[in-house]
């Protein structure tokens, strides 16, 4: 390998941030290289300094950061290599490289664009800075690149505002912005972490194609080894700002040397795992449920079905457009005739892409939203309760029996309450015991989730995302519920933390005899957690079956697509971009005819395939025809 061979070489890079009375060393003596035209993945947990590295290359780290070392950029359009770190901060030279020779995309598609300016204005700006094209030529080029990243009507997209687009489309626009000057290097900082698996697969496909077409190199910063396996040529594993292991993807996946790399790989759930196999998180939590749930006089319930949902429908009216008198447009049906049962002690997985109505369904069960029609029955110790119409005493009982764990560990805990108050609040609301017994209950709960007593007097901001999610779980457990609704509890977490939380939830379920409704967009996670799985698409349950059947023998095309979209940390089964790379609405058109409604939703019913396996199909179709 000659010196000129590498597009970018990072040599002995250290980045530290001064803090009151000390420094935080985010990156320590890091060496790595990026070869032209190749995808280099930078893998590590959150807090490992990988994003700092990305920003240091661009020179957009805050000025207080202290950097040392070299970042050598061998721009093929220039004659000699350039040390990016030696350039003046925000000077003309580094600015002519940013966005022009090195593009960057970020994790949060929701906040990466300014909401005040149109997409076109913000993309066009890159050309205004770096080119001498006329406005007409710039617009043409913008629309061209917007079309190539998958906008069906680029001219219209150009004049749209970011908030009018979905997360996936915004990320596409972001990619268009990063690629418009045809950079030699694209830095993608967790480009798909905030997206669900089907959108993730589309974005990865787009990145892969763009990278091959433009012959550019890509630095892919991610924590997800599944994404790495499908995308990367070379892999660099970092931990606490230092390189643990680096090499080609083949080397890293076939023959990982460093225990940290092996640990990361074992933390990802895999479809090939045995039913009772446990994930091995990097740091295991000890569960101590002693003294929890000593509820007296608990009678065995008569039925084994704890929650029964029948024909629930919910539609949202779109906003009143402008003032009064405007014509109301058609309502959006978020949940359409959904029925399912949850058995006592099982985990029912509810899977689907974002916007399919799974969160709406969970909110209806929690009485956060009111259904238009249908019934939900909870079979508790004291007989059945009509969930949707319960009032007074019955509602109060319901509130103690069904609890919820939320997706976002940051916004679901009040930043102004210490952990002690957060966990004991449900006890106070329901007037359980006196102050002393509540205190003891809180201590038992915090032990159950593996946090020390000292955590009780701290505030949520001093905990990591995974720890916060554990606090959320402790709060849900406080009243000793039977049923816990987990709405994407691990989607916002790193894979290593995800394994930790999943194991914790499994242990708690076993020891406390809980029932879970586990909502997720990731089938691999659901496979690890659930006994039965319901797949939801566009407000309807398209397939429901025991977990093994869904995973091994799916019938509905949408289930198959979801399964294919899960990136596995295994080089032998990379993502099949051909099959999954198109939006669900487009993919729906090529579904087999027996699954299509042809514009008449009533033509579909749930066909029984035996063994608790139901699939949404045409009324007149024989069950045998549905088998592939």
């Amino acid at each position: 390998m000659t010196e000129r061979g590498d597009l970018l070489r990072v040599e002995n890079l250290s980045v530290s941030f001064p803090l009151w009375g000390g420094t935080i060393e985010a990156v320590r003596n890091l060496d790595m290289r990026i070869r032209p035209g190749k995808v280099t993945a930078l893998v590590g947990e959150s807090g490992s300094g990988k994003s700092v590295l990305g920003r240091a290359i661009m020179g957009i780290e805050t000025p207080v950061a202290r950097t040392s070392g070299q970042i050598i950029f061998n721009d093929p359009e220039r004659d000699e290599p350039l040390d990016l770190l030696s350039l003046p901060h925000d000077g003309r030279k580094i600015r002519s490289i940013r966005g022009n020779r090195i593009g960057m995309i970020f994790q949060e598609p929701m906040t990466s664009f300014s909401p005040m300016h149109t997409i076109g204005n913000q993309i066009d700006e890159v050309l205004r800075v770096h080119s001498i094209l006329s406005p007409g030529e710039r617009r043409e080029r913008c629309e061209d690149v917007l079309g190539r990243v998958g906008f069906e009507n680029p001219g219209r997209a150009f004049d749209m505002y970011p908030f009018e687009l979905s997360g996936g489309m915004r990320q596409r626009a972001m990619i268009a912005m990063a690629l418009i000057c045809r950079p030699a290097l694209l830095i993608a900082d967790e480009p798909t972490t905030a997206l669900d698996v089907t959108i993730q697969a589309q974005i990865l496909k787009l990145l892969r194609e763009a990278q091959a077409k433009l012959g550019m190199a890509m630095l892919l910063i991610t924590h997800d080894l599944g994404v790495v396996a499908s995308m990367a040529d070379e892999v660099v594993v970092v931990y606490r700002g230092q390189v643990m292991e680096a090499g080609t993807a083949e080397d890293i996946f076939r023959n990982p040397q460093h225990p940290y790399t092996r640990g990361l790989m074992q933390a990802v759930p895999d479809f090939n795992m045995a039913r009772d196999e446990r994930l091995k998180p990097l740091r295991e939590i000890k569960v101590d449920t002693a003294g929890l749930m000593q509820r007296t006089g608990r009678t065995e319930a008569k039925t084994d079905i704890i929650l029964s949902v029948r024909n629930v429908t919910k539609s949202f009216l779109p906003k009143r457009s402008q003032g009064f008198g405007a014509r109301p447009s058609a309502p959006t049906v978020a949940v359409n005739d959904v029925s399912f049962d949850i058995k006592r002690g099982e985990t029912l997985g509810l899977v689907g892409e974002s916007g399919c109505g799974k969160t709406t369904m969970s909110k209806i069960i929690m009485r956060g939203l009111t259904a238009n029609s249908g019934t939900v029955t909870y079979n508790g110790d004291n007989g059945p309760i009509d969930v949707l119409n319960a009032e007074g005493q019955a509602l109060q009982e319901l509130r103690t029996r069904i609890q919820m764990v939320f997706q976002d560990p940051v916004s679901s805990l009040s930043p102004r309450m210490p952990v002690r108050s957060i966990i004991s609040e449900p006890l106070e609301i329901h007037a359980r015991g006196d102050a002393k017994s509540r205190q003891e209950a809180v201590q038992r709960l915090i032990h159950a989730i593996g946090l020390p007593d000292s955590a009780l007097s701290r505030y949520p901001h001093s905990f990591s995302g995974g720890q916060r999610q554990r606090i959320g779980i402790a709060r849900a457990l406080a009243l000793g519920p039977d049923l816990i609704i987990c709405d994407e509890p691990v989607s916002a977490l790193d894979v290593s933390i995800q394994a930790q939380i999943l194991n914790l939830m499994k242990d708690l379920k076993k020891e406390l005899g809980l029932t879970y409704l586990f909502i997720s967009h990731n089938l691999a996670v659901v496979n690890y957690m659930a006994d039965r799985v319901a797949v939801m698409y566009a407000g309807r349950i398209v397939e429901i079956a025991p977990c093994e059947i869904i995973m091994r023998n799916p019938v509905h095309p949408y289930t198959k697509k979801l399964l294919a979209a899960v990136p596995l940390p295994n080089l032998d089964c990379p993502l099949d971009f051909e099959a999954i790379g198109q939006p669900s609405a487009a993919a729906k058109k090529v579904w087999a005819t027996q699954f299509k409604d042809d514009g008449n939703p009533d033509s579909l019913i749930h066909a029984d395939l035996g063994g608790g396996h139901w699939v949404l199909a045409r009324r007149n179709v024989d069950a045998r025809e549905l088998r592939p």
Binding site: D90, R98, N100, F106, S112, K319, Q322
Partner: protein, 332 residues
């Protein structure tokens, strides 16, 4: 958009009706009326009032009628542009207020513009150089400006101007121009005098404004889109102006609603101390002497301006912020 504006204007009507009732009630609350306090005042200095004439005036202005009818007369008059008659000045309200309104608007507008011109650069500097010595120093200055009461500052400046420049800085112009029509000399004299009230009234406003610009801008500076803009290779100053500053302007625009009435009412206490020919002292005097048409019409005028100001700022917000314009009223 047009539908929205029409709807907003229609909503203004009941608001104004309710405000007018409130104003009328409050003005009527103290016992007696202008004539009674006038008679009392005359008695106090030992003169006799012409009760005959007073009774005539009372009848002429409908003071002998029940309150609802007087209310309707008052409101009806205002709708026709007749704001009533000031008993104290013995001329129509519009004539009393007329000249003063223009002077008040002049002082207030200059003050507001000066406030913005000073506050914005300082606020931007403070936000972009957070926790630097410059930020701390300017913050200290701003807090002093906020803490010192206007009238104290007015007295200090009057004293200093007197011993340093040897001029009396009371009033808005030289005494000899007071009742003269506008002329070039009068205008120059106003300019000579205006900087003192502008500084005094402006200090507190500037200080508060700096703090608000700083806080709003700081919120925006750490947003992801700022990073995106820098990653595009934009000049840092251009990034600042186009993205975070633009976003932080929303508070400023929604402020317009409260600025409009402020322009008219002015800073009363400062105006009293400096004996400025603005509307503030006049309103106070009118309230004291129960000069009900003057006070009521003036308060009504302020209320009208407030409502208009809120409307203007709402429309401006909708024009400037596409999120409000295109997503307004949507629910989750």
């Amino acid at each position: 958009m047009i539908r929205y504006i029409l709807w907003r204007i229609m909503v203004m009507i009941p608001t104004l009706v309710m405000i007018s009732m409130l104003i009328f009630t409050i003005i009527e609350l103290p016992p007696g009326d202008y004539f009674e306090s006038y008679v009392e005042e005359l008695k106090a200095i030992g003169e006799k009032a012409d009760m005959q004439e007073i009774e005539e005036l009372r009848a002429r202005y409908g003071f002998d009628q029940p309150e609802p009818i007087r209310y309707l007369n008052w409101v009806g008059g205002m709708l026709k542009g007749d704001f009533g008659y000031s008993f104290e000045y013995r001329m129509p309200v519009s004539d009393v207020v007329g000249d003063r309104v223009w002077l008040t608007i002049l002082v207030s507008t200059v003050t507001i513009i000066v406030t913005w011109l000073i506050a914005f650069p300082i606020g931007i500097y403070s936000a972009t150089h957070q926790y630097s010595w410059g930020d701390y120093g300017l913050t200290l200055l701003g807090l002093i400006g906020l803490a010192v009461p206007n009238f104290v500052l007015a007295l200090v400046l009057m004293y200093l101007a007197n011993i340093w420049f040897g001029t009396s800085i009371g009033h808005l112009m030289d005494q000899k121009y007071l009742n003269e029509p506008m002329s070039w000399d009068k205008f120059k004299s106003i300019l000579e005098h205006i900087w003192i009230p502008v500084i005094i009234i402006g200090t507190a406003g500037t200080a508060g404004m700096v703090r608000r610009v700083r806080a709003n801008l700081l919120d925006e500076l750490h947003k992801q889109y700022v990073m995106t803009a820098r990653a595009k290779g934009l000049h840092p100053f251009r990034v600042l102006i186009k993205y975070p500053l633009r976003m932080s302007l929303n508070f400023f625009i929604s402020d317009i609603g409260s600025v409009l009435p402020h322009i008219i009412s002015g800073a009363e206490i400062t105006a009293v101390v400096l004996s400025l020919e603005t509307t503030g002292p006049m309103l106070i005097r009118a309230l004291q002497s129960q000069d009900m048409y003057l006070a009521g019409s003036f308060l009504m005028f302020l209320a009208f301006l407030t409502v208009i100001g809120v409307l203007v700022s709402d429309i401006a917000l909708a024009l400037l912020d596409p999120r409000i314009r295109l997503r307004g009223g949507s629910t989750k």
